[in-house]
């Protein structure tokens, strides 16, 4: 029962662990909230519901990270970007399986999920993007 789950960031990641991209929709004004939040930032209503988002979107911008914090050092160089989903919402994330020279602003990408949990807080799965 998605409707009973709290409108929190942690819950967003629990859904990611179920391979679903979810946002909150305000029942009062219709605003889509991603990250989900306990209160609609447009009309301040707390009357919300979970909605599932499509996984495909368009790459708006990207970078290739060469210097990373310790936690990500073993992955360099890696690509991160911001994807605009079909619903108009934007999500940042890692782009895997594509070489830096093949990446282009405007290309279509699809969200996928890495459901292995880290051993420390936060115990969240990660979503990432790849070629559809």
């Amino acid at each position: 029962m998605a409707e009973t789950r709290p409108f929190t960031i942690e819950e967003f990641y629990r859904f990611a662990g179920e391979k679903r991209l979810m946002a909150a929709r305000c029942n009062k004004c219709g605003e889509l909230l991603l990250p989900p939040r306990p209160m609609c930032t447009k009309c301040l209503s707390t009357d919300l519901k979970w909605v599932e988002l499509g996984k495909r979107g368009e790459l708006l911008t990207y970078t290739v990270i060469h210097v990373a914090p310790t936690q990500f050092e073993s992955l360099v160089p890696y690509i991160v970007g911001v994807v605009k989903l079909k619903d108009g919402l934007k999500l940042p994330g890692m782009i895997r399986g594509i070489e830096p020279e093949e990446i282009e602003v405007g290309m279509e990408l699809e969200a996928d999920f890495d459901t292995t949990l880290p051993s420390q807080w936060p115990m969240w799965p990660r979503y990432f993007f790849r070629a559809p």
């Binding site: 960031i9 990250p35 310790t70 160089p77 890696y78 991160v80």
Partner: protein, 390 residues
């Protein structure tokens, strides 16, 4: 006619910026405070100063929080109220704003504002991690997006939309290093060539080492008072005539556009409106060049050129020391250095020197109105202050 002053700056101090081994941040702050006291012999710091607002971003660097009383003690100012202000890299721009509010409220006649950060004793991966705390944790840091990475996302978007080039970005580095070479307090007092800048190693493509500001130790401060009291302390006050501050979403990805910092734009508009000046009236500006693309975006957000024309403005030479609107005469964050918490008031310090005619080799002739633009994180905070020669 510009507006009447909000407050007056009667003195200012800046520690030497650089790799300051063997010192704590509080000791750097004492160095900046001492310069400010020396510049203003009519001021009795222990008697006159009624409050201290100190910008400081990260307790991780020195394992030290509670910065307000700590630096106040070292500046000899106990037991006055001392409050730390944290808005990431805009911490001391925001502290300056707090100081202005404190004087304007009538509660304090004289206040000290400043900033401090001690960073260079930590490893680059550590600093990268600490700086990333100014960005969104669950959606940005969690996915490996670094702080240079966020500005790289802006740079890619700006290049894609407006045709801005890596060469134009490198030109910002060359210009600011040229200016920094003239500033005895700058961290890196040496010129770089365009070839060296553009061929430096990639940090977060399209940003390379020379597109990034420096990891630096430093402290800065200003002493503010009511305009009607300024002459009691100095014959050469500099007035603050406009102040703006605005906020945006912590996550870059949440914003409508990645090619502009809306908070910077709004803070600029507020400051211009308050000061009753326009972008064309600005004689000298310090803008937040944490990355070269940030300076190009600042030109546009502050109205020095139209949206999308920041790259060509850099290329035209207009923002060089001898240009129409010299930007970052101090060397900017790029060459003077970026001890994050200290940056906002260090920018105001440079504008103070320029308007007081004390900027020596990098003096902009006849500068009357100056602007300081300070950005926190990837633009979730921005402050803009406009100063005028008295």
């Amino acid at each position: 006619m510009t507006r009447k002053p909000l407050v007056s700056v009667v003195s200012a101090g800046l520690s030497k910026f650089g790799k300051r081994q063997g010192l704590y941040g509080r000791e750097l702050f004492a160095e900046a405070a001492k310069e400010a006291f020396n510049r203003c012999p009519n001021l009795e710091p222990k008697k006159d100063i009624k409050a201290l607002f100190i910008g400081h971003m990260g307790e991780s660097y020195e394992h030290q929080g509670h910065t307000g009383p700590t630096v106040s003690d070292w500046a000899g100012l106990l037991p006055i109220q001392a409050t730390r202000v944290e808005n990431a890299c805009a911490s001391s721009g925001a502290a300056l704003r707090c100081g202005i509010l404190a004087v304007l409220s009538g509660m304090c006649d004289v206040v000290m504002v400043g900033g401090v950060e001690k960073m260079t004793h930590r490893t680059t991966p550590d600093v990268t991690e600490f700086l990333a705390m100014a960005s969104d944790y669950p959606f940005e840091q969690w996915h490996g997006i670094t702080f240079p990475g966020l500005y790289a996302l802006m740079a890619t978007a700006h290049m894609h939309k407006y045709g801005t080039t890596e060469e134009q970005m490198a030109m910002v580095a060359v210009k600011n290093h040229h200016n920094g070479a003239l500033n005895p307090k700058a961290h890196k007092q040496r010129e770089v060539t365009l070839e060296k800048a553009i061929s430096s190693r990639v940090i977060a493509w399209p940003l390379k080492l020379y597109d990034c500001s420096l990891i630096t130790d430093g402290a800065s401060c200003l002493i503010l008072t009511k305009p009607e009291l300024a002459k009691k302390f100095t014959d050469t006050p500099v007035h603050i005539i406009g102040s703006g501050q605005a906020s945006d979403a912590i996550g870059l990805y949440e914003r409508d556009r990645f090619t502009t910092l809306n908070a910077g734009k709004l803070a600029g508009q507020e400051a211009y409106r308050m000061a009753k000046v326009e972008p064309k009236d600005i004689d000298v500006a310090e803008v937040h060049d944490c990355f070269t693309i940030a300076e190009i975006i600042a030109y546009e957000d502050l109205g020095f050129c139209k949206q999308g024309e920041g790259g060509p403005l850099m290329e035209s030479g207009a923002t060089k020391l001898e240009g129409k609107i010299p930007v970052n005469s101090s060397g900017g964050l790029k060459s003077k250095g970026h001890p994050v918490g200290a940056t906002g008031t260090a920018q105001a310090y440079e504008i103070y020197l320029q308007l007081a005619g004390q900027a020596e080799k990098r003096q902009v002739d006849g500068a009357e109105i100056g602007l300081a633009h300070n950005v926190g994180g990837s633009g979730a905070t921005a402050t803009v202050h406009i100063l005028r020669r008295a």
